[in-house]
């Protein structure tokens, strides 16, 4: 399963990722950084593509059952 992970210390909380996410998996935590809900994320990379700070990476994640 591919999931988005965000380097939250360098995120500028602009919300560009939140806007493009087709699964509404991203929320901006109190204007400080973006947070991904991994249960919703389908790893489509749309957020990674638009992030102006390039702090999102979509990576392979083990499925925890």
């Amino acid at each position: 399963m591919k999931k988005a992970i965000i380097n939250q210390t360098e995120c500028v909380a602009c919300g560009a990722c939140e806007k493009v996410c087709p699964r509404k998996a991203i929320t901006i935590f109190h204007g400080i950084y973006a947070d991904v809900n991994k249960d919703l994320c389908v790893g489509c990379k749309k957020c990674e593509k638009v992030c102006p700070a390039s702090v999102i990476q979509v990576v392979q994640k083990e499925v925890v059952s």
Partner: protein, 201 residues
């Protein structure tokens, strides 16, 4: 169905054009300074950036839908704290100088200068608007403020072309300051572990 706030880029575009024809419209731009600040001070985080900023949308539109952006990654130093806070400090200093020159016109030390200054250096004569209907300081502030708005638009367009569409948002002074205010307000709630998120992984 698109929501009303998805059309705020029109406001940003009209603003720049209106200021071109009548410099006094520049005053309306204060909305783009006061609203994000107030919203973050009352604890709404960066909701202005996230949902209501016309400028962010404008860059999104030009760089995204109209494909004017090269979509390259921004150099790491631009998103560093040093650069972002440094640019904020520089921007606020220049803003302070602009307020001071408005004051000098207000108290009669200087006369109104009808110029728009681009990138804090290039002075453009800008005397096609009749400003005699208002006090000179009101016009002076309009020239100064429009210079700020035009300069930041030029910088934003440049980084939109070179990097990702919304690259301006990485070093936008309003974005940096509202994030800073949010950090101060919610310091205790910030998680310490750089890269985690909610949900099972």
């Amino acid at each position: 169905m698109k929501k009303w706030n998805e059309y705020l880029w029109i406001f940003s575009a009209v603003y720049l054009v209106a200021g071109f024809f009548n410099i006094l419209f520049a005053w309306i731009g204060m909305i783009c300074f006061v609203t994000p600040l107030l919203l973050s001070i009352i604890g709404k985080g960066k909701i202005y950036c996230n949902s209501y900023c016309g400028r962010g949308q404008f860059f999104e539109l030009l760089g995204g839908r109209l494909k004017l952006s090269s979509n390259r990654n921004i150099p790491a130093f631009i998103r560093s704290k040093w650069f972002r806070y440094g640019f904020l400090a520089f921007f606020m200093t220049m803003f302070g100088i602009m307020i001071f020159s408005t004051y000098l016109v207000f108290n009669g030390t200087n006369n109104l200068k009808e110029v728009v200054t681009l990138l804090w250096t290039i002075k453009l004569p800008w005397n096609w608007t009749n400003t005699s209907t208002v006090s000179p300081w009101i016009a002076q502030f309009a020239f100064g403020f429009y210079s700020v708005m035009l300069t930041s638009t030029i910088l934003g367009l440049t980084t939109m072309f070179l990097f990702k569409p919304r690259s301006w948002c990485v070093y936008c002074p309003m974005g940096t300051i509202t994030q800073g205010i949010s950090m101060l307000k919610y310091k205790g709630k910030v998680k310490q572990n750089g890269t985690t998120s909610k949900g099972n992984s």
